[in-house]
Each structure stands twice: as C-alpha cells, then as structure tokens.
C-alpha cells in the first residue's frame, strides 16, 4: 500500500574545506531533493496548489453581485442570480467544479440576526460545471409559524472538488522535475548534475511557497484559519471545549455567542460554516455566523420545537476560513 513507507531522505552533515566533494555526496544531495518531491506531490499540484478533495477549491462569500474570495476569481467564471434566492457559481471548464464534489454553505447576511435561513446546493446542476445554491428564509417572525420563501442573501461557500484537467494553469507548471544520472567514482562531476539539484530545489521551493509560509503553515484562504468547539454551560454561558486559534467565547444573549479569534482576519475575508449541535438526535437547530469585526465572529442559534422557532442556547462547531490580516 502506498502509505506503508518512509521518506527516502539521508541526513547529511556539512562539509569543511578539506572534505572531498565526491560523487557520493553529490548523489545524496540529488536523491534527497528528489525524495522531497514525493510528499510534495501527494496532495499538491506541480505549482503547489493543493488538490486534495479535503481542501475546497473555491472558498468565499457571495453578496450578489459582489463576490469576495473564491480563490481570486481565477477559478470560477461567473456568479449569476437567475431567480430570487438562487445563485449559480459557474466554474471554469477546466475545473468542472460540480463534478464529484461536496459543498458547504453558510448563510451570513445581516438578516440571520433576526430569523433562521436554510441553504441547499444542487449537484451537477446547470451545465455540469456549475454549483446552484438556494437560500430560504423564515418569513414569519420568531414564535409560532413555519413559512419560508426564497431570498437572495449573502452566503459563505466552500466547494470541494477535483479538476478534470489537472495540467491546466494555474494548477500545473511547464517546469519539469529533472531526472539525474547516477554518478559513479569514475564519472566526472559534470555540470548537469549540479544544475539538476539547483533546478529541482528551486521548483520545489516555489511549489511550497505557493500556498504555505516559509515556515510551512498554510496561507491560502482555502484552508481554515480557526476552529471552535463550543458547549453550553450553567449561567447560562458558552464555554470553549476545544479550539484552534480561538482566543475566547462570550455569552451575548440567549442563542447568541461571540467567538474571538487569536489572529485578526482581513476585511471581507472571514468565511464561516457553523454547525449547531442538537441537544438530542432529531432536534432541529440552525446556526449562522457573522463576522462583526476583524477578530470577532457572532454566532446565532435557532431551535424549531412544537411548531415554534426561537433563539436557543446550543453547542456548535465553527470552522472559519479566510485570509489573515
């Protein structure tokens, strides 16, 4: 099985002036560089773009007709609003974003502070490279009533998919890894050998910096920047049970919780996909999240019970994508 292996990388020491620079050292240098290609290519394209299905290709916020994120508009061709409540994201032909994918939608307009909204997506809708999304809003006020209507509201969206043509720009690069000749003791240390090492290192370096910092952290908006697992507690209050890059949570009022991030997010670059946690299986709960500042995301929680909608304190899980300030 492919994962039953280790990296074929030989730790090398540094050399000093009196050490010979023979073929063994040069071969180890070259083979180490080539060994690093394997893990680098496992879940990245040759340009360094992540291509694991777990990393959404498109992440952003649609405030029709304005769009934020979605990978800098190079990976989708248009966003349209053919009918009230229905927004269609069209991918490029190369990406075929509706095929074999999974989509998360988080309704996030100001109106989520007042009433719950519901979102659905349509697999393979339209021309096969489109993701139609529909937003519904509770038209009755909180309390008794359960009437819904289509409404065009801002929403955050993450489209998990794989491209049909993995060699298309910006996924692939015309630069190719170079194979080397293996040197023996009687082979001259010819310049192509050294140039291969230098070239492969440069390709690998550029690849890693495409969506990573120089320390290896991910700096693409397509990978979440923070996660919060929040529970309810006596008081009432909210408590942070586990987190990644979350500073604190605060109880605002019934069914409203502020989540404060450790790191500020850039303007219009906070994309949330909250999931309310029912207190029992079969309870109908809805969560919405709205960035109210660069460091604070406000979560609204709604409960449907006995024919009534109300705000309610419930636990929730909150993944936050976007761009750090």
């Amino acid at each position: 099985m492919p994962f039953l292996r280790s990296l074929e990388y030989v730790k090398q020491g540094t050399v000093i002036r009196k050490d010979p620079l023979g073929h063994v050292r040069l071969n180890d240098l070259a083979s180490n560089t080539e060994a690093l290609m394997d893990p680098a290519l496992a879940e990245h394209r040759s340009t360094g773009v992540h291509n694991a299905l777990e990393v959404p290709f498109l992440v952003g916020r649609v405030e029709y007709p304005t769009v934020y994120g979605l990978s800098g508009s190079t990976w989708y061709s248009s966003v349209s609003n053919p009918a009230t409540g229905r927004v269609v994201i069209a991918g490029t032909t190369a990406l075929r974003i509706a095929i074999g994918g999974a989509v998360l939608v988080g309704v996030s307009g100001d109106q989520v502070a007042s009433v719950p909204h519901l979102a659905t997506w349509e697999s393979g809708g339209g021309a096969g490279s489109e993701v139609p999304i529909r937003i519904r809003k509770l038209t009755s006020a909180l309390g008794a009533g359960n009437s819904w209507a289509d409404v065009t509201q801002p929403f955050d969206v993450a489209v998990h998919t794989v491209p049909t043509d993995a060699d298309v720009s910006p996924l692939a690069t015309p630069h190719a890894w170079q194979r080397r000749d293996f040197l023996s003791s009687d082979t001259a240390l010819a310049d192509p050998q050294w140039d291969t090492i230098a070239s492969n290192q440069e390709i690998l370096h550029g690849m890693m910096l495409a969506e990573h910092t120089s320390a290896g952290a991910h700096n693409t908006p397509r990978i979440s920047k923070a996660l919060a697992w929040v529970n309810t507690a006596a008081g009432p209050s909210y408590v942070l049970s586990r987190n990644q890059q979350i500073n604190s949570v605060a109880y605002v009022s019934t069914g409203v919780c502020d989540v404060t991030l450790k790191n500020a997010m850039a303007a219009h670059s906070t994309f949330c996909f909250p999931q309310a946690r029912p207190s029992s299986i079969g309870e109908f709960v809805v969560a919405h999240a709205l960035a109210i500042s660069s460091t604070v995301v406000r979560v609204y929680l709604y409960l449907y019970s006995g024919g009534n909608w109300s705000r309610a304190d419930r636990g929730f899980f909150l993944p936050i994508y976007g761009v750090l300030a």
Binding site: E54, L118, N146, H160
Partner: protein, 162 residues
C-alpha cells in the same frame, strides 16, 4: 538555516564547500517546510492510513469530505457515497428516517458541518453532531407545514486531528 537560490554552473566552474553546504541546507529547509503540516515519516515506516505518506496532518483541514446520495433502490434507503479522506471506518448506517451514523477512526476532536442537496425550492436542513467516535447526521424537511426527519442527500466535512 534558510533557503537560498543556487546558481547553475559551467564545466570549468569550481564548486566550493559553501555552495555544497547551501545545497544541503536547502534540502533541510524544504524538508522542514514539508514536515510542518504534512506526514513525512522520516526513518519510520508509517502504517496508519490517517498518516499516509505525504498527507496533510494539519487539524485545520477536514480529515474527510463526504457527499451522501440516498438511493431507495432496492427499497430501503442505502448510501451512495462520494468520499475523500481516510477517516471513515465503514459505510454509514441508516439508523432511522433522516438519521445517518458514521463510525470514525483514529482521530480526536471531531467536528463536522453539513449542507443538504436539493433541486427545487424546498425547506431542507441538516445537523451534524459528533459523540466519541460516532458522527450523527440528521436531515429534515417540512412536511405538512412542520419539520420532520426526512432522508435527504447531503454533504458533510469532518475535522479531526490524527
């Protein structure tokens, strides 16, 4: 230690120790960058599929992404899955109408977010809740003006650190 772009050489160029050392340091730097958020298994043969060679081991990335299509053929609802990631133990179980149970493996701090699929203007909702190594996804729709558990297609992304 940091990466430095190396020059290419010609036949009569003499490679000095500093340049060779920089090439070695470049490899170490690239290894360090890769090792930060990816499974490298240097000197250890990794046997866990959760830590497959080259996979991301960043808890900020979902460990699995699933779209479940409900098939009613041959009668009882059965899952038709589009799955990515090594987190699922087996096919999900249809526990009751609108209730699917996923057994997860080898990770902790599970969290999940779900969105239902629909082709028309309908009132559909989904919740995902993790309890231990079990993920429950419930889907619901309006029936006669009130919400009730209903079998629906849905997507779910599942987070957990191996």
């Amino acid at each position: 230690m940091s990466y430095v772009r190396l020059f290419q050489v010609v036949q009569d160029f003499v490679l000095g120790v500093q340049t060779v050392n920089q090439a070695r340091d470049n490899n170490e730097d690239l290894l360090s960058v890769l090792d930060a958020r990816h499974e490298i298994s240097l000197g250890v043969v990794e046997t866990s599929p959760l830590k497959a060679f080259g996979r991301h081991d960043d808890s900020l990335i979902p460990r699995a992404v699933v779209t479940l299509h409900v098939s009613t053929d041959p009668g009882a609802p059965t899952p038709v899955l589009e799955v990515s990631g090594p987190l699922l133990q087996a096919e999900p179980i249809h526990r009751a109408t609108g209730v699917w149970v996923f057994q997860l493996r080898g990770a902790w701090t599970f969290g999940a977010s779900a969105t239902p699929l629909a082709t028309a203007a309908v009132d559909y909702g989904a919740t995902a809740v993790c309890s231990g190594s079990t993920l429950y996804v419930t889907t619901w729709a309006t029936t006669g003006g009130a919400f009730a558990l209903t079998d629906l297609d849905f997507s779910v992304a599942i987070w957990g650190k191996p």
